[in-house]
């Protein structure tokens, strides 16, 4: 669980970013939406402890800045928007997810191997484990990194537009994996760029506007406050009445 109160952080060019209060719970997928430059990625990075901040960020009841970086990594995992294409096989990458537990000095133990195998099975990447990252498609690479984050076994997982390089089938698979993780009690916070998808899969949605957290609620709450979505995206989100539509909420003019 991540609890945010009076959070403030400054950009290098002087603008201020602020969140008055927010709660990212375990057992839920929280989606963060907003226009480009509205501060979505900044929110995620700050929650991951990668930016200096004023105010409070409580990760499982403990202040974010009081964690050592390794201890924090056991509570919060962070998958950035762009990931590297490396000369490294998938299994080695996923094993790196165990770094917060064994650091530089301890070897991979039985527990570590178990978590790595579990992560690879969950993402259906087991058959790819010997493949190089270079030999994978963009979507597969993203799944490999997701496996690494799963092996990290933190209670919260933060992801910045993780489905960018995935085709539709991979995206569906991706969200079903997230559902399994959420059922196990993990909390997921992800920046979404596809609004229909976000309304379909996220339990709670956080809308960023002008580097502030403007509104938070369930997808249903958002459809009742139509003007918020319209103001930011120039469209309206409505419950779909068409039985054959893919998503439960659809974009309307």
């Amino acid at each position: 669980m991540i609890e945010v109160k009076n959070l403030k952080t400054k950009y290098s060019y002087g603008d201020e970013f602020s969140v008055a209060s927010a709660l990212f719970e375990n057992g839920r997928i929280s989606g963060v939406i907003g226009k480009n430059g509205s501060g979505k990625s900044t929110l995620l990075k700050t929650l991951a402890g990668q930016r200096k901040y004023e105010g409070r960020i409580l990760i499982n009841q403990k202040e974010c800045s009081e964690y050592s970086s390794m201890e924090r990594a056991k509570e919060v995992a962070f998958l950035p928007q762009s990931v590297k294409n490396l000369n490294m096989d998938v299994r080695t990458l996923v094993e790196h997810g165990r770094y917060p537990y064994h650091g530089n000095f301890r070897r991979m133990g039985e527990e570590d191997e178990k978590k790595v195998n579990r992560a690879l099975e969950l993402t259906h990447m087991k058959s790819f484990e010997k493949r190089d990252l270079y030999e994978l498609s963009g979507g597969e690479r993203q799944l490999a990194y997701l496996s690494m984050i799963i092996a990290q076994d933190s209670s919260m997982i933060l992801m910045d537009e993780p489905t960018t390089y995935m085709d539709r089938i991979h995206q569906d698979e991706f969200f079903s994996i997230l559902r399994i993780l959420v059922k196990e009690g993990k909390g997921i916070v992800m920046v979404c760029h596809d609004i229909e998808q976000c309304f379909a899969y996220c339990d709670k949605i956080f809308l960023m506007e002008d580097r502030k957290l403007e509104y938070a609620g369930t997808p249903d709450d958002f459809t009742q406050n139509e003007q918020i979505i319209r103001r930011n995206f120039g469209i309206a989100m409505k419950k779909s009445e068409d039985q054959e539509s893919v998503y439960p909420f659809v974009m309307k003019k």
């Binding site: 050592s68 590297k84 000369n87 990458l93 770094y99 530089n104």
Partner: protein, 329 residues
């Protein structure tokens, strides 16, 4: 088990073979039989001097220089995510070269001190790069850029000194070819233990290098103290090349070729990579030095020459092979 044989026993076997070859082969004035006699405690005083004061220190120097330069290159390349980077790119070589020249101007006949000057030069340049990069934000690009800047700065000062004091040019030429024919035993005693300590330290810290390679955002998410470890690895790389340069001058190609060859056939973690660089670099330079001193006996060719002569085509061949394997050709 197969893995252990392939990645540990085989390379170590090659290293031991090349060390033994370097000990027994070479100049023809002492036979294999004489060497065995000397090693078991006999032999003439002259033979003892040759073996213990000349040949063994030279083999140790060649092996540790090979290991140091290769690991230095590997650390820098993985740290900056740039397989073209090397101690040369970061200006470490030119820094060392500048200090050797300065020292030669001030104390023309002090040969041992020249090695020490190379060492100080390499260290100073790296520290300067590090401070400059910290001020500008410590990104990988700023590290490389400040390295290039310092490299150019050192080079221009070198040229100024040569223009003003042309007699120092000989020192610079000898230093830049690189080799072990003018090896000073004091510099071996100073540099080799130092190299061994840093090599062990970089093996211990290797997992953090793996994490750094994933990029700053991912590494931060995995709980790595990025600034600390980046600084530590670059410092290790500088100390290793400084120590190596202080013994034998600049053998520039080493730090580029060995890590790239290792990377072409090995794709495991950094600890294995550093180990392979160490062992392969040591064997390779020992063999090159052996060739250099035995092929045209009683004359000598600098080992850096053979390094490029064998290494360059080999690297190109490996690159072509790899392209085919990946189906890109």
């Amino acid at each position: 088990m197969k893995k252990i044989i392939k990645w540990y026993i085989l390379p170590l076997g090659i290293l031991i073979l090349s060390l033994v070859a370097a000990l027994f082969a070479g100049s023809k004035s002492i036979s294999v039989k004489d060497i065995i006699t000397v090693l078991s405690g006999g032999g003439s005083a002259f033979q003892k001097v040759i073996i213990f004061q000349v040949r063994i220190p030279r083999i140790i120097a060649a092996a540790s220089t090979g290991a140091a330069l290769s690991v230095s290159g590997y650390l820098i390349q993985n740290n900056l995510n740039n397989t073209l980077a090397s101690p040369g790119i970061l200006g470490i070589n030119n820094g060392a070269g500048l200090f050797v020249l300065l020292f030669a101007c001030l104390f023309p006949y002090h040969y041992a001190g020249k090695c020490f000057a190379a060492f100080i030069g390499a260290l100073l340049v790296t520290t300067a790069i590090y401070i400059l990069a910290s001020v500008t934000g410590m990104s990988k690009t700023s590290i490389v850029l400040s390295g290039v800047a310092f490299s150019a700065l050192c080079l221009s000062v070198i040229d100024i000194i040569i223009s003003l004091k042309p007699e120092t040019v000989a020192d610079r030429v000898a230093f830049q070819i690189g080799g072990f024919n003018a090896l000073n035993i004091n510099s071996v005693k100073f540099a080799v233990p130092f190299i061994i300590i840093i090599l062990i330290a970089s093996l211990i810290m290797a997992p953090s290098l793996d994490i750094l390679m994933l990029g700053d955002d991912v590494a931060g998410g995995l709980g790595l103290n990025i600034k600390f470890y980046r600084a530590a690895h670059i410092l290790f790389a500088a100390l290793l090349s400084g120590a190596a340069v202080s013994m034998c001058g600049i053998i520039g190609f080493m730090g580029l070729i060995v890590p790239n060859v290792v990377r072409l056939f090995y794709r495991g973690n950094s600890r294995g990579g550093i180990f392979l660089c160490m062992v392969i670099g040591a064997s390779f330079l020992t063999l090159c030095d052996l060739l250099g001193r035995s092929l045209v006996y009683p004359y000598e060719l600098p080992c850096g020459l053979f390094l490029s002569l064998i290494g360059a085509p080999f690297l190109v061949w490996m690159l072509i092979k790899k392209r085919k394997r990946l189906g890109m050709a």
